[in-house]
């Protein structure tokens, strides 16, 4: 198995995220302990409220010396101007280049980090046109964990050149996309451990989170036989991939919207395998969602992988055979690189 050296976490954070903050906030955050910085999952800026960092222990305020505290006094308060400035810098000072993303409520930074935006919405014909008066930003730090799918890949592999249609089910913040990315890499590169030859993989990366493309080139390692359709809506993207790139496996994130079912059926009917993720706290939780329920009833997915963060992000809860609904793996274990 080819293993890449994980990127140096602190300098990644500095290069990919802190550079977008105004000098004032950047200085405070850079005073923080590097060990703390390398571990954070979210940075939140809210107008007139303390700057908040979230790690696996919960959320923390940052005080003016860069220390994490749980007390509001002396915490560094984000000014509304600083927030506006941050978004301006994040959109590379070119609002028009990000207008479609802002309409959906978030933009994706180089490196695949998703930034959620809250503020006053401007409407046009009942559709969101823009968000102004930005009052809150939530920066979710995306991490590559090479090798995290090493233990569960054997439940996905059918034989040396084929895999099972797989759905990864997980609540937010539990490592869904991280796992999906690593699966893409292994299926594309192949692995000697299970005698699996690499196959052609098509990634439909609607939110630029899986491959984190910059100028069309994946910044994350998603494998050598992988083609990425960056920023493309899932349903359209799956059809385009199918028609144009002849993939053996199509990989996409966060299914469950209208039209996803039909698109996935078209993929499966074309004899192409699919690996997708869905938001949910377990298999029974998914049954309340029509698009996904239909797919489950059609027995499209042959494997379900359920994640949680019971033991930190990326805790494997169970692997279930989609045809017999029999548990293949039960019990919690943490997936690590």
């Amino acid at each position: 198995m080819t293993e890449d050296k994980p990127r140096d976490k602190k300098s990644t954070l500095e290069k990919e995220i802190l550079r977008y903050f105004p000098q004032t906030i950047r200085d405070v955050l850079l005073k923080a302990d590097p060990a703390v910085l390398s571990d954070i999952e979210e940075i939140r800026l809210r107008a007139g409220k303390p700057v908040t960092l979230l790690n696996s222990d919960g959320d923390w305020f940052v005080n003016k010396e860069g220390k994490l505290t749980c007390r509001k006094e002396n915490a560094y308060i984000a000014d509304p101007m600083e927030i506006t400035r941050t978004l301006e810098l994040m959109s590379e000072k070119s609002v028009y280049a990000y207008q479609d993303e802002v309409r959906n409520g978030f933009i994706t930074l180089r490196g695949g980090h998703r930034v959620g935006i809250a503020g006053r919405v401007v409407l046009e014909n009942g559709m969101v046109k823009n968000i102004k008066d930005i009052s809150g930003l939530n920066i979710r730090i995306s991490r590559e964990v090479p090798g995290c799918s090493g233990d569960i890949i054997r439940y996905i592999i059918r034989n040396s050149s084929d895999i099972y249609n797989t759905l990864i089910i997980s609540p937010p913040q539990c490592g869904k996309t991280t796992l999906l990315r690593d699966i893409a890499r292994i299926i594309s590169d192949g692995t000697d451990r299970y005698n699996f030859k690499g196959v052609k993989v098509g990634v439909v990366d609607e939110r630029s989170e899986i491959a984190a493309c910059f100028k069309g080139v994946p910044q994350n390692n998603v494998g050598i036989r992988t083609d990425v359709l960056d920023g493309c809506p899932k349903t359209v993207g799956m059809d385009m991939m199918l028609r144009s790139m002849s993939p053996r496996v199509i990989i996409t994130d966060e299914i469950g919207n209208q039209g996803d079912r039909d698109a996935i059926l078209r993929v499966v009917n074309a004899g192409v395998k699919i690996i997708a993720t869905a938001h949910g706290y377990g298999i029974s939780d998914l049954k309340t969602r029509r698009e996904v329920l239909n797919l489950m009833e059609d027995k499209i997915f042959e494997r379900y992988i359920v994640l949680s963060n019971a033991k930190g992000p990326g805790t494997l809860e169970e692997v279930v055979d989609g045809l017999t609904m029999r548990q293949l793996v039960a019990g919690r274990q943490r997936l690590t690189g």
Binding site: R19, Y20, P22, Q23, E88, L89, S91, E92, K93, S94, V95, Y96, A97, Q99, K129, N130
Partner: protein, 173 residues
């Protein structure tokens, strides 16, 4: 006598040369106004068709052409990437101020360029395109005016240069 003749020739050719320089400056301005228009056209394409962020769009524009105007785009690009604290309109205004002296453009052209920067990068594609078209139209009008001035002045400067030289020679003789 010979010295006088050589001196007179020197004076006449020098002042003629000065006149020639002035007349050349007259034709440089409409030329540069045309260049900006075509560069803004490229920017329009980058924005509307490719959704390229400004720093990258400026980079492509200045690399694709080499004239005194591309220096403005080059320095705007540098302001945008070097110092994260400038927004697009500040970067553009600084770039125009820094480089306008090296061009033949007049103050009124500078004002059009600076006001072009006011909403640069801060609105949606339609807004940006509207702004670019408006600026291109204004520059076109400037170009027409500059063209007329050029026609009027070009010959005048040349003849003035030579005649002025002759006048000086006559006075000195």
């Amino acid at each position: 006598m010979l010295l006088k003749i050589i001196g007179s020739i020197l004076i006449i050719s020098a002042s003629g040369f000065i006149g020639f320089l002035y007349s050349k400056d007259c034709s440089a301005r409409p030329q540069q106004l045309r260049e900006i228009q075509s560069m803004l056209q490229m920017l329009e394409n980058e924005i509307s068709f490719l959704s390229t962020p400004l720093s990258e769009a400026f980079e492509r524009i200045y690399k694709s052409s080499n004239n005194s105007i591309s220096a403005i785009f080059k320095s705007a690009h540098e302001y945008l990437i070097d110092n994260l604290n400038y927004n697009a309109s500040e970067a553009w205004a600084l770039a125009v101020r820094d480089n306008i002296k090296k061009t033949s453009l007049k103050e009124e052209d500078e004002e059009i360029l600076v006001s072009f920067g006011k909403i640069l990068g801060s609105s949606d594609v339609e807004g940006q395109i509207g702004n670019i078209r408006l600026t291109v139209n204004q520059l076109k009008m400037q170009e027409h005016k500059a063209e007329e001035i050029r026609k009027k002045n070009e010959n005048m400067y040349r003849t003035l240069g030579v005649l002025g030289g002759i006048a000086i020679v006559i006075l000195l003789l």
